[in-house]
């Protein structure tokens, strides 16, 4: 029998039998009940299966726990209901014993049975709600393809996904799911990656491009080579990361941890105090007041709500992020992100596409520049070489090639010394340059390379990188939240300012060498601000690690995930603001949950003890205590589930 069905049967039976007992024993109601239900012996017979069959799980949890000298909520329920049932059984079997101490022999089987029924009902709803908190993981696991069409020995065969090995050639037809990660060998297609990366627009892919397992092939047919299988695929990595984040603990939980360690023993002690105070100082019949209030204290205390307050919200929050391509490394990162006051964006590859292109060539220098750059690995060099190839220039032989980091390159072509680099390089080499022309290009956000032959200016090449589509909106979304946005780049100030102004960024840190980025982040932190650094996760790893929150624009497969606190696999810069907003919403939920869980216990335990009785004659019926207790943990889990409604 499944746990759900078991709970359903137990709840229905307990509430039905408890209802009959209540009908036959509750003042005002019992007069309408058949005489048989008013018989104490009948009530005992009806209550016994509820206490020892439906309520067996409370004993089964309590007894081994006591062997470990520990206790939990089940202990309190077992104690509370046993006290009510035990007293009622004594009243039924030997009413004289109770009469002798001056108490009218009335049983409270309704209290014991209805409490068990309601607490089990609460547990049933709680289990259903809790299942919702781990939905994101189940969805991700469900994305996995089951089989792959692999080409082996010239034949196309369907094999289970776990039998696919690296190097297998796989064919994918339109509408099919891509089984594992790989590289396209032949064909082209448009691929919907939204389910894995959160990237909403289908991506066109062709030979040489990488494909991600579990994404959907929309239009073309293609074959590809499997490069990552099993636990190495991007989907498997994402699942692992989300699982790890959901297993981690937020610092805010520490206080709840501390209290929950002492909670149940303290409640038992308070129940003893309640009994003693009511018995000694309470009105007549003092024993009954003492008994019922003790049961109410044991039943109303709800340690579960405290235990569930933080983790359920973290699970929903991290799952929600993953659904939208925002991978959060752990609960601590999710907690810290809401305090971010400054976001530092690396320019190249983060705000821009990272593929610079030649926009202007001043002078007939493309052949010389492209030839010289052949030996360089710099991204600007690639742009110049691409331009040279596109213009079909003839590459000349270069001797004595040398790259001067932060300045440029030099070499000898046709026995003439050629240098190509920035203004600083020219000043160092004492080359006179045309400042106005350079200023003009730099003011347009272009990076200008100056070419000099034998220390004489020969021409200029301007290179520009295109801004990402989501850059401007991403920056604006942060600014709307009152978060300061800073751009950091190795570019000169003029070029950097021009790009920043296109994005509406006011603070620019220009001419910062890669190894100085970390230091710049530290300087902002020294002003007392919590800083998030957004970068590609590889070149900026030290800066990402130094920042309070490192956000990597990652592909989800490489070291980027390790270096970052948050990885945006959707590559959408608007998600930086979304991640911070998600953190704020999650923290608000956690605080509300903790406030509710603590407030509930702090207020209602004294009420159950009878603190309102001297002034207002208010006492808490143990049945109402069980209603409150059952709803308290459900309300905490439901409040966490409300996070799912947050629109990102």
């Amino acid at each position: 029998m499944s746990r759900t069905l078991e709970l359903q049967i137990k709840v229905a039976s307990s509430l039905f039998l408890g209802g009959l007992i209540l009908w036959g024993s509750f003042p005002g109601l019992m007069e309408t009940a058949p005489a048989i239900l008013r018989q104490f012996w009948v009530q005992l017979i009806l209550a016994t299966p509820v206490q020892f069959w439906a309520g067996l799980e409370f004993y089964q949890a309590t007894i081994p726990a006591l062997r470990h000298r520990t206790a939990n909520m089940d202990t309190l329920v077992a104690l509370g209901t046993t006290v009510a049932y035990g007293y009622s059984a004594v009243v039924t079997i030997s009413p004289q014993v109770v009469k002798n101490i001056g108490i009218e022999p009335l049983p409270y089987f309704d209290v014991a049975t209805i409490i068990i029924g309601l607490i089990l009902l609460g547990r049933y709803f709680e289990a259903k709600a809790k299942a919702g908190t781990s939905e994101a993981i189940k969805k991700l696991i469900g994305l996995q393809a089951k089989t792959a069409k692999v080409l082996r020995d010239g034949k196309e065969i369907d094999i289970p996904i776990d039998q696919v090995v690296i190097g297998d050639v796989i064919r994918v037809r339109p509408g099919e799911k891509i089984p594992v990660d790989g590289e396209i060998l032949d064909g082209e297609s448009s691929i919907d990656e939204s389910m894995v990366t959160g990237e909403s627009i289908p991506v066109d892919k062709t030979k040489g491009d990488t494909v991600v397992g579990a994404t959907i092939n929309k239009s073309g047919t293609f074959t590809y080579k499997a490069t990552k299988v099993g636990q190495e695929t991007m989907l498997a990595q994402i699942i692992k990361l989300v699982q790890e984040a959901q297993g981690s603990k937020a610092p805010i939980q520490r206080i709840a941890d501390l209290i929950s360690s002492y909670f149940v023993p303290i409640v038992i002690m308070l129940a003893l105090v309640t009994f003693g105070v009511w018995y000694v100082f309470g009105p007549s019949p003092a024993f009954l007041f003492a008994l019922l209030n003790t049961v109410a204290v044991l039943i109303i205390a709800c340690p579960c709500a405290m235990g569930l307050a933080t983790p359920t919200a973290i699970m929903v929050g991290t799952g929600k992020g993953a659904e939208h391509g925002i991978l959060i490394k752990d609960a601590e990162s999710l907690e810290t992100a809401h305090k971010i006051k400054t976001v530092v964006f690396d320019k190249t590859g983060t705000l821009t596409k990272g593929k610079p292109e030649v926009t202007d060539v001043v002078g007939d220098i493309l052949q010389t520049a492209a030839s010289l750059e052949k030996g360089s690995e710099h991204s600007l060099a690639e742009a110049i070489i691409r331009k040279g190839e596109a213009e079909r220039v003839k590459f000349e032989k270069v001797t004595g090639f040398k790259a001067i980091p932060g300045h440029g390159v030099e070499g000898v072509i046709n026995r003439q010394k050629v240098i190509l680099g920035n203004r600083g390089f020219m000043e160092k080499e004492k080359v006179e340059v045309n400042g106005r022309e350079i200023d003009k290009l730099e003011n347009q956000g272009k990076t200008v390379m100056i070419l000099a032959v034998n220390k004489k200016l020969a021409g200029l090449i301007a290179v520009a990188d295109t801004l990402k589509d989501s850059a401007k909106e991403g920056v604006q979304a942060l600014q709307k939240k009152g978060i300061e946005v800073v751009m950091i780049t190795g570019d000169n100030q003029r070029t950097a300012n021009a790009i920043a102004s296109k994005l509406g960024i006011k603070t620019v840190l220009a001419e910062v060498l890669p190894d100085q980025k970390e230091e710049e982040v530290r300087k902002i932190q020294a002003e007392g601000k919590k800083v998030a650094m957004v970068g590609d996760g590889i070149n900026d790893a030290p800066a990402l690690a130094t920042a309070d929150i490192g956000i990597a624009m990652g592909t989800g497969t490489d070291v980027a995930i390790e270096a970052a606190d948050i990885t945006l696999i959707n590559k959408d810069l608007r998600s930086v603001a979304s991640a911070i907003e998600l953190s704020k919403k999650t923290m608000r939920t956690i605080k509300l949950n903790l406030f509710w869980a603590f407030g509930y216990n702090i207020i209602l335990i004294p009420v159950a003890m009878g603190i309102l009785y001297p002034s207002f004659h208010i006492l808490l019926n143990p049945i109402f205590a069980s209603v409150a207790m059952a709803t308290s943990s459900i309300s905490v889990v439901t409040n966490s589930l409300l996070l799912k409604r947050f629109k990102m």
Partner: protein
């Protein structure tokens, strides 16, 4: 004050003292683990405290025998592990701690606790 009230007060005080001693003053027995350990999950964790070597991989096998929903998950937050424990099945968690210290683990509702001591 009547005799019954005096008896209730005395038993009440004794009960409180017993509760304090029973739950809050228990001594934890540390089990030294070299490679792997079976932890029985029944009304808590047996053994409750394990000590493992630093820098080495230790296999912790959780076997849940308790039907209680409370114990159906185990969380090792410092190792970022949250695992569902199916009834009567062995669930292995491998840890390779790189720092010494005491690391707590608990059930999903944070009611039952255990400790991993890394030497």
């Amino acid at each position: 004050m009547s005799l019954d009230k005096i008896i209730v007060i005395i038993f009440g005080i004794l009960g409180i003292a017993f509760t304090y001693w029973f739950f809050l003053m228990k001594k934890e027995k540390e089990v030294v683990v070299s490679e792997s350990v079976d932890i029985i999950v029944e009304g808590g964790y047996s053994p409750e405290v394990i000590s493992v070597p630093k820098g080495k991989t230790t296999k912790i096998n959780f076997i849940r025998k308790d039907k209680s929903d409370c114990l159906e998950e185990v969380i090792l937050p410092d190792f970022k592990v949250r695992k569902h424990l199916p009834l009567n099945q062995k669930v292995t968690i491998e840890i390779t701690p790189n720092t010494s210290g005491e690391f707590r683990f608990s059930c999903g509702m944070n009611m039952f606790h255990g400790k991993i001591i890394v030497h």
